[in-house]
């Protein structure tokens, strides 16, 4: 593929103490493609996403978005790039001191100087897009079920129509039906906005529903990358053991350090 990828990562490393969590990650995510990153707990998936989001500063390597290395940009330019990103956190990470509508419209109020009335109206529309009644906007996050919190988190992520969307374990803690509903909404939003997406997940059914492409992270490196539909028959020993949940294989769980 000759076209410039939306996100290009090269040689990304990050170490915490003596533990090297990312050990030279190379990854390309083409524009308007949904990339699923799988890997065991502690394999560095969340750290990878947090590096791209600018929440964690990597030790080395480059993260290019639209051909610009965001790690070398001035803070204001980094802020502008971040404005193109929406993120759905694993536990929702909704602001519990704000009502739902203000959570959804938070990015709009922060970036676009819309009035509170306009933001509230827009929040109602976005809540409808993720299958919630606009009246839910008056509730507080603590009053919502887990599935509703995920929907509100998704609504907040897509509110500013971002060019890039990130999902951290979007179906964790949900029953299978609700998980499928959330996956459907994610796919609908990503395709509808034409966004480039990266999702990290342990849920293989979810990975195949959400992803166009998939990559597996193991010991801080990308050990396989291919079509998400081939996750279950990749031919890679590491991926096969992980996706089929086999105890025996090359991946040895670190029970103690």
């Amino acid at each position: 593929m000759s076209a410039q990828p939306k996100i290009r990562i090269r040689g990304l490393t990050k170490q915490f103490g003596d533990k090297r969590v990312l050990d030279g990650i190379d990854l390309d995510v083409p524009t308007a493609t949904s990339m699923v990153v799988i890997g065991g707990s502690g394999s560095g998936k969340s750290v990878l996403v947090k590096c791209i989001l600018g929440i964690i500063e990597p030790d080395d390597g480059s993260i290019e978005i639209d051909g610009k290395d965001v790690l070398k940009l001035e803070p204001a330019a980094q802020e502008a790039v971040r404005g193109e990103i929406g993120m759905l956190f694993q536990n929702g990470a909704l602001f519990d001191s704000l009502p739902v509508w203000e959570n959804v419209a938070f990015g709009l109020l922060a970036r676009h100087s819309v009035t509170r009335e306009q933001a509230r109206a827009r929040a109602g529309e976005i809540l409808t897009e993720v299958g919630l009644a606009p009246s839910v906007g008056d509730l507080y996050p603590a009053e919502l079920s887990g599935g509703m919190q995920k929907r509100v988190g998704l609504a907040r992520a897509i509110a500013a129509k971002p060019a890039m969307l990130f999902f951290d374990e979007p179906t964790t803690g949900l029953d299978p039906i609700m998980g499928a509903v959330i996956d459907g909404l994610i796919t609908q939003c990503v395709k509808g906005l034409g966004s480039t997406a990266i999702a990290i997940t342990h849920d293989m059914a979810s990975a195949r529903r959400i992803g166009d492409q998939a990559a597996m992270l193991y010991k801080g490196r990308i050990v396989w990358q291919g079509e998400a539909q081939h996750l279950m028959d990749s031919g890679n020993e590491l991926v096969d053991q992980f996706t089929h949940g086999r105890r025996e294989g090359p991946i040895q769980m670190e029970l103690r350090r």
Partner: protein, 261 residues
């Protein structure tokens, strides 16, 4: 030999950790202050923090001030009666309350009430990824969470302490007139004669410093908390303990600065 040096090594390590933390707090505070003066300004959040500091802390600070003034009047009467110097009680009460008790006790009360709540709120936000979420929503967490609280603490505590100054003196007056038999007019005359404007200025200045310290410790420990519920609990405890110690330490420094001859 190694065993003999172990306590020295332990002391050295402790000192280095303390030094590192002091530096970390200083940088955190400087970043917070710099965001107070740079837009965007979150006025609603400042007002909310100010109300939390000033309005909702008023009852506990008022009760503390009144009872402190009453106790000072009683204690000084018990001591001064032996020397026939009971006429100085109004003076003792006003100086004790305005110079020391009102700012220190209000600071400690607010550290326990608002500083703890601040650390718990920010700590919970940290461990539930809400602070990371702010970053992804083009919002600087230092500007959104820390700067309004630092400003609110610095401005709110002086107001509280002015109220505490008045109520503390009233507590002394109440005991002096109702229990100890002082003439109300003379008691108040003594109070106003002895009180200097510098005492009030220092009281307010101390309060501003203590308010900043309470907010800084609440924000610092909450913002940097780790490890779930246990981490949030530890952050809350650390915020209150460190703010209390710093209030007492800075009280000495400020007293030395303003009153030492």
């Amino acid at each position: 030999m190694t065993d003999l040096l172990a306590p020295v090594a332990l002391t050295g390590r402790g000192f280095l950790v303390a030094l590192g933390m002091a530096g970390s707090i200083a940088i955190f505070g400087a970043r917070g202050i710099s965001h107070i003066f740079r837009p965007p300004f979150y006025v609603r959040l400042f007002v909310r923090s100010f109300v939390e500091f000033a309005y909702f802390s008023l009852p506990v600070v008022a009760m503390t001030a009144i009872f402190s003034g009453m106790v000072i009047a009683l204690q000084s009467y018990a001591g001064f009666a032996k020397y026939g110097a009971t006429s100085a009680i109004a003076n003792i009460v006003v100086v004790s309350v305005v110079r020391e008790l009102a700012p220190v006790l209000a600071g400690l009360m607010v550290a326990g009430r608002v500083g703890a709540a601040m650390a718990a709120e920010l700590g919970t936000m940290r461990v539930t990824d809400q602070i990371d979420a702010l970053t992804t929503l083009s919002t600087n967490p230092m500007k959104y969470l820390v700067a309004p609280r630092l400003l609110a603490g610095t401005l709110a505590l002086p107001l509280l302490v002015l109220v505490a100054d008045i109520l503390g003196v009233m507590g002394g007056w109440l005991v002096g007139t109702a229990k100890l038999g002082f003439n109300s007019h003379i008691y108040l005359q003594n109070t106003f004669d002895f009180l200097q404007s510098m005492d009030v200025v220092v009281s307010v200045a101390k309060a501003a410093v203590f308010g900043f310290l309470v907010a800084l410790m609440g924000c610092y420990h909450g913002y940097n908390s780790r490890g779930g519920a246990v981490g949030v609990g530890a952050a809350t405890t650390n915020a209150v303990v460190s703010a209390s110690i710093l209030i007492l330490a800075f009280d000495y420094v400020l007293t030395e600065l303003f009153f030492a001859r």
